[in-house]
């Protein structure tokens, strides 16, 4: 193996390097100068994000356990962009008194999980994928429990680690069946050998269940709302966008690569999961008052929509999933950004607290409104395009009834998104949240999100690019 082929791992190596630099910085910085780490980390990460868009050759490392191609690079870029926005949004939160001692810790944990996700996406065998998954999960639990003195945050951390352990167990159990029946863990070897063997079907079901925990599909979603509510807002947005996106990408790639011959097994499986996830997510979201729980259930419902694209099992499906994730990233981060800004300024997180927000903070309200309409899939914002193409993918397979269920669910979701809009724009309140000035990093992040929400839908070439690098089962 030539040393330059390590260049294929550019993104991962850069991230690890950054984590090490921050670790060293942490040791050699005086306690009262710790704030300096924040801009440094921001600049380093922005650099890595930009470098990610430079061209990279395709290839494989370690005998095929690590694969780099245009699609994985693009997926990693999506995740990088998401993390960059999250870092912007956590700027003023990190500057708080209570987080003073843990600034470098925060960045190192976030980056470790990101490295794990990158390995998941690039994995060429189940071992690499599993290592990546664990690396993405365990620091995540530490992040969820970041506010050490808050009982809810600690609860979130424990819940996350316990459910993750369980799901990893299930996942490994499934993989062991596959290994037992085929004698290999490499995706390439497995691809030709998976068949209608019941043990392999068993393995497939367990594998999908394990991943379903990570993407929080119903009925594996029970941890989601509690963890989202307990974790700090920035971590919640990270969980709901980046972490979920990485897991969905990985599930899609492995289903396409490894289980290409048994689409007849996993398509009905995903069909059922999709219907359950969309419906349950939506029905529970209707009853929420805490915005973080509300967005948690909304993101569960959104995950159900993603399955529509995966089910198509072709280039079109992959393109629509990746395109949807790209839009969802900007959309959901915009929504969470507003929640974070309001929570930072006033400590309020309930929908009922948001009444009359338009009078005091019109810009934040408009951002929130556009994000919610994008989540509901209403034009001119990009969410419309993302959802429509997912429906198109499902329609291509002839799942018209599923499309109908999905679109009716989108209508239900519009109801609860409108509840928030109604509170902010229509209802009158005696004591609205007072006007406040949003810190500049937050404003930048929201502007980036808004630009994404508005432009990605109309920019047909982005979709064409994604289609060009997509692959499917042929």
């Amino acid at each position: 193996m030539e040393s330059q082929s390590f260049y294929l791992m550019r993104n991962e190596l850069a991230l690890v390097g950054m984590a090490l630099i921050l670790l060293v910085m942490e040791i050699f910085t005086r306690p009262d100068k710790k704030n300096g780490i924040i801009p440094l980390a921001g600049i380093l990460f922005a650099l890595i994000t930009v470098i990610g868009f430079l061209p990279l050759p395709e290839g494989r490392l370690f005998g095929g356990s690590f694969i780099t191609n245009s699609m994985t690079v693009f997926m990693k870029n999506i995740l990088n962009t998401g993390v960059l926005i999250v870092l912007f949004q956590s700027y003023s939160w990190l500057k708080r008194e209570e987080n003073q001692g843990k600034i470098a810790e925060y960045f190192i944990l976030v980056i470790s999980t990101l490295v794990g996700m990158n390995f998941m996406i690039s994995s060429g065998d189940f071992l690499m994928m599993y290592i990546g998954l664990e690396l993405a999960t365990i620091p995540m639990a530490a992040l969820a429990a970041f506010q050490k003195f808050s009982a809810k945050s600690a609860e979130a951390g424990i819940k996350l680690i316990l459910t993750s352990a369980l799901s990893s167990g299930i996942l490994l159990y499934g993989i062991s069946f596959l290994y037992g029946t085929t004698g290999s863990i490499y995706f390439e070897d497995l691809a030709g050998r998976t068949g209608s063997d019941p043990l392999q079907t068993f393995g497939l079901v367990f594998f999908v269940s394990g991943m379903a925990f990570k993407i929080s599909l119903v009925p594996f979603h029970l941890w989601t709302a509690d963890v989202y509510e307990g974790a700090p807002v920035n971590i919640t947005s990270y969980l709901s966008v980046v972490s979920k996106g990485a897991a969905a990408f990985t599930l899609m790639i492995i289903l396409f690569r490894v289980f290409s011959t048994v689409t007849g097994v996993w398509q009905p499986l995903l069909y059922t999961l999709a219907v359950a996830t969309m419906t349950v997510g939506n029905l529970f979201a209707i009853r929420q008052d805490n915005l973080k729980r509300f967005l948690a259930f909304s993101s569960i419902a959104q995950a159900g929509f993603i399955l529509l694209g995966i089910m198509q099992a072709g280039e079109m499906g992959m393109a629509s999933v990746v395109y949807f994730m790209l839009i969802y990233l900007f959309t959901n981060l915009a929504a969470f950004g507003v929640v974070a800004a309001v929570s930072e300024a006033s400590g309020k997180e309930r929908i009922s607290d948001y009444t009359g927000l338009y009078r005091t903070n019109p810009r934040l309200t408009l951002t929130m409104m556009l994000a919610l309409f994008s989540l509901a899939g209403i034009p001119p914002v990009a969410g419309f395009f993302g959802k429509f193409f997912l429906f198109t993918s499902a329609g291509a397979k002839g799942y018209y009834i599923l499309v109908l269920i999905a679109v009716l669910n989108a209508t239900i979701s519009l109801y609860y998104y409108l509840r928030v809009v109604k509170a902010m724009m229509i209802d009158k309140s005696e004591t609205p949240i007072a006007a406040f000035r949003t810190p500049w990093p937050m404003r930048i992040s929201l502007l980036i999100c808004l630009a994404g929400i508005f432009l990605i839908g109309f920019a047909g070439f982005i979709y064409e690019y994604i289609t060009g690098i997509s692959f499917g089962i042929n």
Partner: protein, 498 residues
């Protein structure tokens, strides 16, 4: 550049300039200027269109242009108009123009109000110029956000409830549409690459099984917007809670979108299923027509009366479309235009009367003709047009519809035509009763004597709507002749089976 793009560009520019100007007075003026420009553009379009037709351009759609948008999905921004669309664009720009002046006095968040109103109009314009069903659907959905906000923020009565009900029911309609559109899209693969293009789809004859499955999705999806019984319930609540300009635009134009979609997409593209299932929907629309009229009798609130009357009149549009003769479809289109004008006029007048009396309950008022003669006379004219008095547009439309429907020789269609004609009588009852109670008789309350008659902007709004009503009524030949080139191919495709 294609002149049709102007109809999207002007509203967008207007919205952007409204964001920039300072006080509410300049907001109003900007909005009015933008929409006046749009009205002029619509007139220019109509003239150009008919000049080209005269010159012998026989293509079904003129001013076509096509920009590829999502290449791998074969989605285009394709535009073009036929005579129905041209008239609809004229109608829309007129109603929006009148709507701006009718809401001249909106003070509460006036900037947001006009932005939402014009965005709503953009969706409607875009819908009528689109040839690609994806673009068409995009513009259709564009109306959702502004509609909710307009009713929710500036409405009256149970506005939150009405806004939510209207938005969700119409979204439910578009849920059905998505399925229908995807069906058309993927089944078009039998004749080359998959496409959303209306013209290419119209060349394909889809298998009957597919037509049976997807026709109800498309027809009901658009039908909800056209107040198809029993899915019309959003209309009375929505229209009565909405602020004046939105009621005008919604009842006047958006409900026509439903009729236009039913004709252009559902029936035109899936003709065999349309013929097979016409009887089901004919029964439903007949119920709409008669039930809507009866509903209007029982109401005391002026807006509810007009909303139920809209259900009845829009039911008549769908009814006439489903009769599928040249005459009846011609009548349906004239009815769309005529109802669009007079219902907009009604809502404008109701808004103006409410602005003075602060009541919309008919029995509480009386003798208004003595104090506000201009508005009173305008109300009478609108009423007479609505009940089908010869010389006004309503007569032309309803006459054509019923003559066209009676051309059928089978008993079923003749019987329901007779039932539907009952609505004319019932309409006369509720219109004349309102005119009598509201306008005539002694002045009921003392403070009425101090009411000012119509202001200049109100007069402008009212006159802009009355003129075309009278012109269509007196000289309908031009309108109905101009429609034949669009209706010919549709009817040919619908009846080619016999």
């Amino acid at each position: 550049m294609n002149i049709l793009n102007v109809f999207v560009i002007i509203p967008v520019l207007t919205v952007l300039s409204i964001m920039l100007v300072k006080d509410s007075r300049s907001v109003r003026i900007t909005a009015a200027a933008g929409m006046s420009l749009q009205l002029i553009a619509a007139a220019v379009l109509a003239i150009l269109f008919f000049v080209q037709r005269k010159a012998g351009m026989t293509e079904e759609f003129l001013f076509q242009s096509d920009i590829t948008w999502f290449k791998s999905l074969n989605i285009h921004y394709a535009i073009g108009v036929d005579s129905i669309a041209v008239w609809m664009i004229c109608l829309t720009s007129l109603v929006v123009f009148a709507g701006i002046f009718a809401s001249w006095v909106v003070e509460h968040l006036s900037r947001e109000f006009f932005i939402s109103l014009i965005t709503l109009a953009t969706g409607v314009f875009g819908f009528f110029i689109s040839l690609d069903l994806f673009t068409m659907f995009l513009f259709y959905e564009l109306a959702v956000i502004p509609m909710y906000l307009l009713i929710g923020i500036w409405g009256s009565g149970p506005k939150e409830y009405s806004a939510m009900k209207l938005t969700l029911m119409l979204m439910g309609g578009s849920a059905l549409l998505v399925v229908g559109l995807l069906g058309l899209y993927f089944y078009s693969a039998s004749a080359g690459p998959v496409t959303f293009n209306l013209l290419e789809l119209s060349k394909i004859s889809f298998p009957i099984g597919m037509q049976r499955f997807f026709f109800p999705f498309l027809f009901v999806g658009f039908g909800i917007l056209g107040a198809l019984f029993p899915l019309h319930t959003w209309s009375p609540d929505g229209h009565s809670s909405a602020p004046t300009a939105v009621s005008m635009l919604h009842a006047g134009v958006l409900m026509k979108l439903g009729g236009y979609g039913c004709l252009r997409v559902a029936m035109f593209l899936l003709p065999e299923a349309a013929n097979e299932m016409a009887w089901i929907f004919l029964v439903l629309t007949t119920i709409s027509v008669v039930y809507g009229a009866f509903g209007a009798i029982w109401q005391k609130d002026l807006k509810y009366i007009n909303a139920y009357s809209s259900v009845s009149h829009c039911g008549l549009v769908l009814f006439a479309l489903l009769m599928m003769t040249k005459t009846s479809i011609n009548g349906a289109v004239i009815q769309m235009i005529s109802h669009g004008l007079m219902t907009a006029l009604f809502f404008a007048l109701i808004g103006m009367i409410y602005g003075r009396t602060h009541s919309r309950i008919v029995p509480d008022m009386g003798g208004l003709m003595n104090v506000i003669p201009f508005l009173g006379v305008a109300y009478v004219i609108a009423g007479l047009a609505s009940l089908g008095l010869p010389g006004l547009s309503g007569f032309v439309a309803e006459m054509t519809i019923f003559v066209g429907s009676f051309e059928h020789t089978d008993t079923f269609r003749r019987v329901i035509t007779i039932i539907a004609t009952l609505s004319i009588v019932i309409t006369a009852v509720y219109i004349l009763r309102v005119v009598g109670q509201l306008l005539l008789g002694p002045v009921r309350q003392k403070e009425y004597l101090e009411f000012p008659d119509a202001r200049w902007y109100e007069r402008l709004s009212v006159v802009a709507l009355i003129l075309p009503i009278a012109i269509i009524g007196l000289y309908p030949a031009f309108l109905s002749n101009s429609l034949t080139d669009a209706i010919g191919p549709i009817v040919a495709r619908l009846t080619s089976l016999f």
